[in-house]
Symmetry: D4
Subunit: 150 residues, 8 copies
């Protein structure tokens, strides 16, 4: 594999799991390009009205931002070889599950990352995955194994 | 449209929203075939071990059931002309958001149904929909309008 | 061909070209099922707010209606064997050209119907068509020829 | 995203909106490759007969040119990550709407750019877009946001 | 297989091979629906100008007819389960080879039918087929075998 | 689901597992249409030379038969909603594993059926399945559950 | 367009039309990569038996060669942005027409190149093309126009 | 062909056939990138539990490893231009046949490599191939021929 493997990191934005994976990938020298949604919560929520103009109704405020974010996320999921989706304890994270479904229907290789307490709630999502991990370093180890030369 | 329009009803299983839509569709005499996942919570959770044998680890218990349920849901989403996804107040309902993402990637027409309090949490899912409704009768009205002869 | 050929009639809604084609198809006894968008201009413009609730901003008023109409039009274009798109003298009819492009990308057989004065303006759309007609009865004749037994 | 994002600029050819976007993209140093149709109106209208020989009937004159132009536009739309379609006040611009429909059916990310007076006429096209802008600099801002590292 | 298998018969129109296959299929009572292009040579050559108006240049005369015929042939190839292509001794029959290539790229099951003298000239076409026959009754036997219950 | 679910039964032809499933499906009154390859070993091996003429080299003898059988199997796998693949103790059954891979790449729902002793040897095939059963009646129970109304 | 446009040159191998196009492309400095089948007639006919072993029956001799050549041609057509197919006066050239059909079904941009005497015989093939040329330099001019910056 | 042709080498892991092909490719200086599954039998069997945690039931032990290996193999088959599948005398090698079926359904060019004694057992797999070789050097010769400039 001479071109870099594209790995999209979807989901939770309030812990440092992406940084942990990035550090592990760098340390192992893996031929991986990590991509992600815009993880700045404020920017992500406000890009719509900030760029395209204010909205009175919060529904349309959200709508415009969600669609601009979708420009980025859909391009990156479409280009991804592997999609990692992280579910945390907080928030409902329906966009993470949406991304997992979207990636599954496109035939992308899915790795789902979450604490074991969420096993039952995520059973349908996990059932579509090729690996279910509970720690970021396991994702690095999977990538390392999968991209090993021999 | 002489063949019936296939409408898959995904999501929440603890309220009677499917029955309300079914009653409305029948009353209006719409040429619609409504389909849904297995909505018997107990059966859905236990089909795996009941049919394929007991498991010690609850993860695999869930896994076997989730996959058998996926046989049904993936066939029905693939055949659907319209996919309606209902989000309720209870539970995390990641499978509903997963279905929405799956259907979106297949280019299915999405109608999302939820209370307005969930607007912000569901903004990415709503952004992929052709209609966002908050009451089941609106789904019936949409189908009635969409399937009207003139 | 024992199943009926699906023919979607897109475009102009202010003349009786659809009725002329329907009459011709019926007279010739062709195994054709004609489909079309909602052609009631008022209903088509207002379905969004009527079903899903009023909007202050006319952009979102239009947006909700356009998306509900898209539920119908995308299902019908997807199921169509032939897509006929009629351009008239009035209005900009960008939705007609949009439908033509959408159908072309899906590999549908396109017949474009318009007066000869529009030839230059429609050259890119016509270039994607398998037939360019200027009278509705020609569309009927094409269907009659194309569906003839011998 | 180490490879450049491909952005196809379709539509109006009589104002300098493409140059404005190009200047903005360059100023911001965005990893974007902008592509467009042949925007020289005369060349675009005459390439067919100039290369492949004169035609008596203006319909076929146009036809030959439109098809040669389609070689370029279809390759570029197929390769595009984002398709921006600009509608101006002049001309009918059915080819712009056709491109929008074509791109939508291929699942491309659409940004529609037009003055607010055209909102109602373009509602079906806008309904398929992930962003509707009225000034070229907004397109640059969207690209800047969407391609931002964090 | 309760629905009838769709078998498209492409190619040579100057011998009675289609009638032979039809007779064989009927005699054997096979659940097959045979389809074909318009095989009336005169009608097929003239449908364009007859329906859409005269042309001075024979190239465009042919062009208009070829495209109207393509409406029929592309619908039928798209719906076909099996495509049979017959090459005879006369004429160049490039449309038959074109149909074979078209069907092959769509993943259709190809049966090629021709005299053995044409083996070398048709080697690339035959290489894409699941069966190469030299007599129409062999096509019937293949269909009979392939559609046999046990 | 008003149309019957298409279930293709691939693999082992020397035991009565297909009959067991057929009996179970009939007894339960399931809306299922079972399909299968030609399971008459002799006919399946000889159809090529019997219909298309004798071959000296056994490789081409086999080749002609294998391709004629592929006409049937590829049509049926393409039409299937569910593909069941049975592996037995005897023979190498590479065609069964080939069918499983073929069906998996098409996104078909896979059920793999084999004795537990084959678990390790079939781990890659099982990993692509939505259910792994070791007795034919489990396949019936899965279909019964999956096709249950509520 | 920073990556080179892939142009596959299919068809006639007994005149120097490929060399003429190559010279024109080079002279014009076009960002084009020209590809072609193996044009050494002898090598192309014999590669099968030369590499994989002798065959008694000329049908299988041809078959093995045709399939090995298909490895090359299908990869190159799949990667092509534009497919040029040249028909000459000699030979039946069914493989050229097959390639044209194959490329058309994949949605590739087709340019057909032949003398005007072949117009009637090639009408169905021409009808699928975006340009029909009769001299190689016209193909160069089309590429030059299509790849021009402005 | 300026980019390297991607060739995936699937199947048997207990002989040095991959090394033979690699040596031949290197000696001939072919523009080929060879890829393969993880061929370290022990690592391949244990990656699942080693990375994601121990399992009591050997079925799930195997399952976790098979799925992690599938991340690699599916990416590589998806990216491959040519898939070579080697069947040896030992083991059942159902994963090799599964890969062949998977690659065939994706339209990949297949080369099957095995001793002649396996001809009958592999007839269905061979029937989907563009070449059937019995020695690794033949695969090199095919690649050399297929990638030759003239």
């Amino acid at each position: 594999m001479t071109t870099k493997t594209q790995v999209y990191l979807s989901g939770e934005i309030h812990t440092d799991w992406r940084e942990q994976i990035a550090a592990g990938v760098q340390e192992a020298g893996l031929p991986v390009e990590l991509t992600s949604p815009v993880t700045d919560h404020h920017a992500s929520d406000n890009c719509g009205v900030q760029i395209l103009g204010e909205e009175g109704d919060p529904f349309w405020r959200d709508h415009k931002s969600a669609k601009i974010n979708a420009i980025r996320t859909r391009i990156l999921i479409e280009k991804a070889d592997v999609v990692v989706v992280r579910f945390g304890e907080q928030y409902r994270q329906w966009n993470a599950a949406f991304d997992a479904g979207y990636a599954a229907a496109l035939g992308k290789r899915l790795i789902i990352l979450h604490d074991r307490e969420l096993n039952h709630a995520l059973k349908e999502v996990d059932a579509a995955a090729l690996a279910v991990a509970d720690r970021p370093e396991q994702v690095v180890e999977i990538l390392e194994y999968v991209l090993s030369v021999r």
